[in-house]
Symmetry: C2
Subunit: 184 residues, 2 copies
C-alpha cells in the first residue's frame, strides 16, 4: 500500500515568476499530481507574520480597529505584523509589533502555535503569542500606519467570536485559544 | 473629532492589473491615506470560499489529510472549497464540497460565521458551517483532487489545536467554535 505522501504529493515540474512586489511574490508552477497528470498551481510566497493577544491582569485584551484596504472595512484585530526579514526571530517580531502598535511591553510570552492562513495558495506562516504581565508605554506606529487601540474583556470577545462579530481569522483563533488556555 | 472611518480609511486613487490567473487575481493599487500621503497596496482578489465541520452523532469529525503545494506538506483540514461563481449560494457550495470530498450529506446546517483569512492582502471571505445529522454516501473528487478522509473525536481535535498539531487556520477556528457551540 502507498504511504500518505505517495498517495497525495504534488511535485514541482517548473516555476514561472509572475510578480515580485513589496509584500507579495506570485509564481505559477506546473506540478505533477499523484496520478502523473499535470496541473498548475498559483502560489503567493509571503515572508511570514506574527500576532499577539495581549491580556491584562484584569482579563482585558488590548485590541485594535484598523482599516483593511482589500475588504474596504475597519475591522477589529489583535496586534500583528509581518517579519522584517525571513530569518527574524518570531518572538522578537511579536515583541516589536506589540510595542510599536500599542505601546505595551510584556513580562510573559506564551507560544499559542503556528498556523497557515490559506495553505491552498500561500505559504504565509503566522506564529501566535499570548502576552501577559503588560506594561504601558508609548505607541510608535510605522509611517502610513493608522489604527485605534482599546481594551475589551476577553470573555466579551469570546461572545463576539461566537456571534460572528470578529471577521478576522487570526483574531478568532487567538481569542478562542487564549480563553481555553486561561480556562474561560 | 473625526469619526473612525475619517481617521482610518484608505481611498483608491488608481489600480494596476498585475495578474489574472485561474484562482488568484492580483492588483497593485495606489491609495490615499488618512494624512493625505500616498501608498501602494498589493491585493489578491479571490472568489471566496466555504468550509464545513461535519460532526457525527458520536461526536466525531469527518476530516481530511490533503497535500498543500504552497507549503509542501500533507496537513489535516476540514472539508472546504472555493465558490463556483461569485454569486453561488454559500450554503449550497458547502453542501457540494462536503458531498464531493467526503461523500456525506447532512440534515442540519449551522452557520458558524464568515471571516477573512488575511484581510491585509486579500478579500477572500470564508463562510463556515457545522453539519449534523450526517448520512454516508459516495465521494466524488474533482479531477486532480487527492485526499484521505477519516474520523476523529472532536474532543481529541480540540486537544490537537491547543497542542499546535493542526496548522490550518480555518480548521482551528472551526474546531474551537464547534466545541464551544456544543459545550465541549
Amino acid at each position: 500500500m502507498l504511504n500518505e505522501l505517495e498517495r497525495l504529493k504534488e511535485t514541482n515540474i517548473s516555476t514561472e515568476e509572475i510578480f515580485s512586489g513589496n509584500i507579495l511574490h506570485v509564481v505559477r508552477d506546473t506540478v505533477e499530481l499523484p496520478d502523473e497528470s499535470r496541473a498548475t498551481r498559483e502560489v503567493i510566497r509571503h515572508i511570514g507574520a506574527v500576532c499577539v493577544i495581549p491580556v491584562t491582569d484584569e482579563g482585558k485584551v488590548v485590541i485594535e480597529r484598523q482599516f483593511r484596504y482589500p475588504i474596504d472595512q475597519v475591522i477589529t484585530e489583535i496586534p500583528a505584523g509581518k517579519l522584517d526579514s525571513p530569518k527574524e526571530d518570531r518572538l522578537e517580531a511579536a515583541k516589536r509589533e506589540l510595542r510599536e502598535e500599542t505601546g505595551y511591553t510584556a513580562d510573559e510570552w506564551i507560544d499559542l502555535g503556528t498556523f497557515y492562513g490559506a495553505a491552498a495558495y500561500t505559504d504565509e506562516k503566522i506564529t501566535m503569542y499570548m502576552a501577559r504581565g503588560l506594561h504601558k508605554g508609548k505607541q510608535e506606529l510605522d509611517q502610513g500606519e493608522f489604527l485605534d487601540v482599546y481594551e475589551v474583556p476577553l470573555t466579551e470577545l469570546v461572545e463576539d467570536v461566537m456571534k460572528n462579530r470578529i471577521p478576522d481569522g487570526k483574531s478568532e483563533i487567538a481569542i478562542l485559544k487564549a480563553a481555553r488556555y486561561l480556562g474561560l
